[in-house]
């Protein structure tokens, strides 16, 4: 006879039925974004404000980045706040709203009709984020433990809500102008709240918990993490105030300095976590995730040049701006996801398939559930595609751009194959 340890285990974990749809949706979105990239090459280097570019950016930011982060966070938030997720039902609602809203919005961009598809799409997306915020806030309120990682996640979610609401307003402003400027003027603010407030803050909050955990590192430095939190939020608030009210150009440099400091502190945190790790061998998904930390520094370099050019010559360098966006969405964010998918999804699938067999028969390790050869090929195509495309932007060469885009498309196909291999895994018989 066995007495169990109560409700600390799988019953306290978010159901895989809630999490897996987010992963599937994100994988398919990455594929769609790469197809859009391949077919959008003509005219890609002439202007960054184009229907196809907007559609690709939002497919990557919402369908790929945000959807997978929302899915993974439903699984990881309980680990971070040390309390179970408040509601699986709300998580489901969040998925349904986003899953309907994202294609509507992207269709609106593609045909450049800011009428009902884009408006309804934006409404659905805002609703999805509101539901997610409620679920997260109640889960955190019920938690007895307060920690810095949870603050990162909640604050990042509030920034996401802010930028999606701004996005909704910009969509309406296209058809019935009610803001003092046209919608294009507000795009840098909308984009940077999303990139810095949502992606950067969240990646740092979750990464500072997961990287030491996966490396089994002795390194902890809560104070450093609080400094990162303050730098990013202060930088973003100054940027918004300057953008809307002050219009003082040197304040952009202050914002930039604060964000640079936060990224350098985070890189330093990851370096120490890596140095003080007990697990010496770093697996392939973890290598790609660590690569993404280095990739954080690339957009900073480009942004620095863009700001200097703007301040000194008042001119926009199109290739630089396109590269900046490309490095963020196809570089940094994609690298994190490509790595972290295969650090998180195998566990979700393992729990689904092997949980009831634990201790009764020998089971494979979660890392054995996906194809490592496929993963390595995916990483090779990804790195090559990324470098070739970037070169293509600067050289303004159609063939080079097309080659880079095709390599990225192959990356997305290999990624999807591995994800679907994982999801369709059947238990091995002893």
């Amino acid at each position: 006879m066995v007495t169990g340890p109560g409700n600390m285990g799988l019953s306290s974990t978010t159901s895989y039925k809630v999490v897996i749809p987010f992963y599937i949706y994100a994988a398919l979105s990455f594929f769609v974004a790469c197809i859009l990239l391949v077919i959008s090459i003509p005219g890609f280097t002439t202007n960054y404000f184009q229907p196809n570019t907007l559609a690709i950016t939002h497919t990557m930011a919402l369908g790929w980045g945000t959807m997978i982060i929302l899915g993974a966070s439903h699984q990881l938030v309980p680990v971070m706040i040390e309390n179970k997720l408040y509601s699986n039902f709300l998580a489901w609602c969040s998925f349904i709203f986003a899953a309907i809203g994202i294609p509507l919005l992207i269709y609106g961009f593609l045909v450049f009709n800011m009428g009902w598809p884009a408006q309804w799409g934006a409404h659905f997306i805002v609703s999805a984020i509101i539901v997610y915020c409620i679920n997260l806030a109640i889960s955190m309120a019920k938690s007895k433990h307060e920690n810095v990682h949870a603050f990162f996640v909640l604050t990042a979610t509030l920034w996401l809500l802010a930028t999606t609401i701004i996005g909704l307003l910009l969509v309406y402003n296209f058809t019935k102008p009610f803001l003092s400027e046209n919608s294009i003027t507000y795009l840098p603010m909308h984009a940077h709240i999303g990139i810095v407030g949502w992606f950067l803050l969240l990646v740092m909050g979750v990464g500072s918990r997961l990287i030491p955990m996966f490396l089994i590192s002795k390194y902890h430095h809560t104070k450093k993490l609080w400094w990162i939190y303050v730098c990013i939020n202060a930088g973003l608030i100054i940027f918004i105030a300057d953008f809307i009210y002050l219009q003082i150009s040197w304040l952009y440099l202050l914002t930039y300095a604060l964000i640079v400091m936060a990224i350098l502190l985070f890189a330093n945190f990851c370096y120490h976590a890596y140095k003080e790790r007990i697990r010496k061998k770093v697996d392939e998904p973890m290598k790609v995730s660590l690569l993404s930390v280095i990739m954080m520094l690339l957009p900073l370099l480009f942004l620095c040049i863009i700001i200097i050019l703007l301040l000194s010559q008042s001119t926009e360098n199109i290739a630089l701006i396109i590269s900046y966006g490309f490095i963020i969405f196809f570089g940094w964010i994609t690298a994190i996801i490509l790595g972290m998918t295969f650090k998180t999804l195998p566990f979700i699938v393992w729990n689904k398939v092997y949980h009831h067999l634990a201790g009764k028969q020998k089971t494979p390790n979660p890392k054995d559930l996906f194809n490592i050869t496929l993963f390595k090929w995916m990483a090779i195509f990804y790195i090559l595609g990324f470098i070739i495309f970037l070169l293509g932007v600067f050289m303004n060469q159609y063939f080079i751009l097309q080659t880079g885009a095709v390599f990225l498309l192959v990356t997305s196909i290999l990624y999807n194959l591995n994800v679907f291999k994982l999801l369709t895994h059947k238990p091995t018989k002893e």
């Binding site: 006879m1 066995v2 007495t3 169990g4 340890p5 109560g6 600390m8 285990g9 799988l10 019953s11 306290s12 974990t13 699984q75 309980p78 680990v79 040390e82 309390n83 179970k84 955990m213 996966f214 089994i216 590192s217 002795k218 007990i278 697990r279 010496k280 061998k281 566990f347 979700i348 393992w350 729990n351 092997y354 949980h355 634990a358 201790g359 009764k360 089971t363 390790n365 979660p366």
Partner: protein, 108 residues
């Protein structure tokens, strides 16, 4: 190994059985990982009280690990009732890994 027990001989038998329980993410057994805090035996009542922890509270693999620990204890001591309790006081940290465990992780 700093496992508290009231019966050294039987505890060793239990720990040997628990060596079969592997943390699926780390690939190391729960004993060398330092997850087992206490194993007490009540021979009159035929009960085993096992206190263990997880590397992190609300670990997604937690239920599988505790279930596996119960299963192996039950199959090693079929006449005993297994009372397994999770404790996060003290919380697990990397210092709790045994020298054998560290060696294993160094090699992987």
């Amino acid at each position: 190994m700093n496992v508290v027990t009231n019966n050294t001989e039987q505890c060793q038998q239990a720990l040997n059985a628990l060596l079969e329980v592997i943390d699926p993410e780390i690939g190391l057994n729960v004993v060398d990982l330092g997850l087992i805090y206490q194993v007490d035996f009540d021979d009159q009542e035929k009960k085993i009280f096992c206190t263990m922890t997880l590397t992190t509270q609300f670990c997604p693999m937690g239920d599988s690990i505790t279930q596996a620990a119960e299963e192996v204890l039950h199959s090693t001591f079929p006449n005993y009732h297994i009372a397994l309790e999770l404790s996060f006081n003290p919380p697990w940290n990397a210092q709790m890994i045994s020298p054998e465990g560290r060696e294993f992780l160094n090699e992987r």
